[in-house]
C-alpha cells in the first residue's frame, strides 16, 4: 500500500489519482497513524518550508518520517516535499529540514532567473540512471512551480537537473529516498510514468 502523508500541505487528491491511474492503491496517512503497513510513502507539499516543518514538528511527524526513511522502504518527496528532505532551508527564516538528503534549500538567484516563481513546463536533463526514470526520455517536459530549490551537498545525488536560467536539481536521490522538484502528478505521460516507477520500486539504488 502506497501512503500519502496528509498534513494539509496541498493537492493530495491529484497524487492519489495518479497512483490509482498507475494501477496501485493509495491511502492517506495522518499524524499518529502507524506507518508499518506501508510499502511506500509520499510526502507531497506546496507552500512555505518553515511553516511546513513547524507543522511536521507540531504533529510529531519528524521522527516517524526519519524512521520510515531508515527502514529502507521507498520514500518520495514532491515539490516542497522534496525540499523538506534537505538538511536546512531559508524560506520563512533559516532552519532545519528532515535531514534525509544533505543539502540546503535556497531561493533562485534573481540575477539569473528572470521570472520567479519558476512556473510551467521545463525539460529534465537526466544525469544518472535511476529506477524512477525507467522509460522516461531525457529532455521530457514536466510541470514546475517553485521559487526555491534544493542544492545537494553531494552532486552525485542529483539524478536529473533542469535549467531555469540557473541550473538546479529536478530529481535527487540518496538510497531509498528520492525527491522531485516538479509535480509528476501534473506532468502528463512522463509524470505518470515516474509515479508508476516509484510505486514499483524496491528502494534500492
Amino acid at each position: 500500500m502506497i501512503g500519502i502523508l496528509d498534513v494539509d500541505l496541498g493537492n493530495l487528491r491529484s497524487v492519489a489519482n495518479a497512483i490509482e491511474h498507475a494501477g496501485h492503491d493509495a491511502v492517506l496517512v495522518h499524524a499518529g497513524d502507524p506507518l508499518d503497513d506501508l510499502t511506500h510513502l509520499i510526502l507531497p507539499g506546496v507552500g512555505n518550508f518553515r511553516a511546513a516543518m513547524t507543522r511536521l514538528e507540531d504533529r510529531r511527524l519528524v521522527q516517524p518520517l526519519r524512521d520510515f526513511a531508515a527502514s529502507g522502504r521507498p520514500f518520495l518527496g514532491i515539490c516542497l516535499g522534496m525540499q523538506l528532505l534537505a538538511t536546512s532551508g531559508d524560506e520563512g527564516g533559516s532552519g532545519p529540514g528532515l535531514g534525509l538528503i544533505p543539502g540546503h534549500v535556497r531561493r533562485f538567484d534573481e540575477a539569473l532567473v528572470p521570472t520567479i516563481p519558476h512556473v510551467g513546463w521545463n525539460g529534465l536533463t537526466v544525469l544518472r540512471k535511476h529506477p524512477l526514470l525507467t522509460k522516461v526520455k531525457n529532455g521530457a517536459d514536466v510541470y514546475f512551480v517553485h521559487s526555491y530549490h534544493l542544492d545537494p551537498a553531494d552532486p552525485a545525488e542529483v539524478i536529473a537537473s533542469c535549467d531555469a536560467g540557473q541550473t538546479f536539481a529536478a530529481i535527487v536521490g540518496r538510497g531509498n529516498v528520492v525527491g522531485c522538484q516538479f509535480h509528476p502528478e501534473k506532468s502528463m505521460a512522463s509524470g505518470l510514468r515516474i509515479i508508476e516507477n516509484f510505486c514499483e520500486w524496491d528502494g534500492t539504488w
Partner: protein, 257 residues
Amino acid sequence: MLTKRVIVCLDVRAGQVTKGVKFQGNIDLGDPVDFAARYDAQGADELVFYDITASAEKRGLFVDVVRRVAERIFIPFAVGGGIRSVENMREVLLAGAEKVSLNSPAVRDPALISAGARAFGSQCVVLGIDARRVDPTATIPSGYEVVIDGGRTPTGMDVVAWARQAEALGAGEICLNAIDTDGVRQGYELNITCRVAEAVRIPVIASGGGGRPEHLIDAVTKGKAEAALVASMVHYGDYTVADIKTAMAQSGVPIRH
C-alpha cells in the same frame, strides 16, 4: 528552458461548458471533462475553469466538476469564479485544482490574496485583473484602469499599481484580461501586457483577444507574457491547441512537445 504556455479557458455553468451568445444568453456546449480531455490530448499546457453559475446552491455541481476533471486529467488546472474566501479556495484545491484565480473579491478585500498565499502558498494564487483603457490621469498613470464585476464597475485603480501590490501581497501569477479586446479576436492588448510584465517578477498570463496563432506569438514575445489564454478560437474548432503550438514552435517560441 522554460516553455511558454497555452492555457485553455472554459466557462462552466451548472456543470456544463457554456458560451455566451449576444442577446441569447448562454448555450451549453458539453461536459467539462470531455472538453478537458480533448484539450489535454491536443497539448494544452494548462486549463482554467470559470464557474459562472449564478446561484449558490449549484456550487456543489462545480466542485464535482473539479473532482471529475482531476480524476482524468493529469495537467495543472486553475479554478475561478465565485471564490470569495479561504474556505472556497480550500474546497476546490482539495477537489484537485492546482490553483485558484481571484478577481473582484481580491479588489474588495486585498487581504484575501495574502490569506490564500499563507494558507496554500503563492503558487496557488492567481490574480485575475480586468483592464480597461482610459485617458491617463494622476491616479491612473498607465492609462489602464482595473474594472470588476465583469467590467461593470470601475475602481479608479491603476492596473500596473494593482499588479505590483498583488505581487507584494503574495500573488503567484497575474492573469491580465484586456476588456477592450476580449472576444474581438483581433489580438491581445500588448501594450499593457508588456508594462505589467516589466513591472512585476511573477509570471503574467495574457488574456482577451486571442483569435489567431500569431496573436499568441506576439503575446509571449512583444507582450513579454509567460503564457496566453485562449477560449473561442479553440472552442469553435477554428484552431486546435496543436495548430497554435506548431505555429509558435515554427516562429522560435519554446513550447512543450
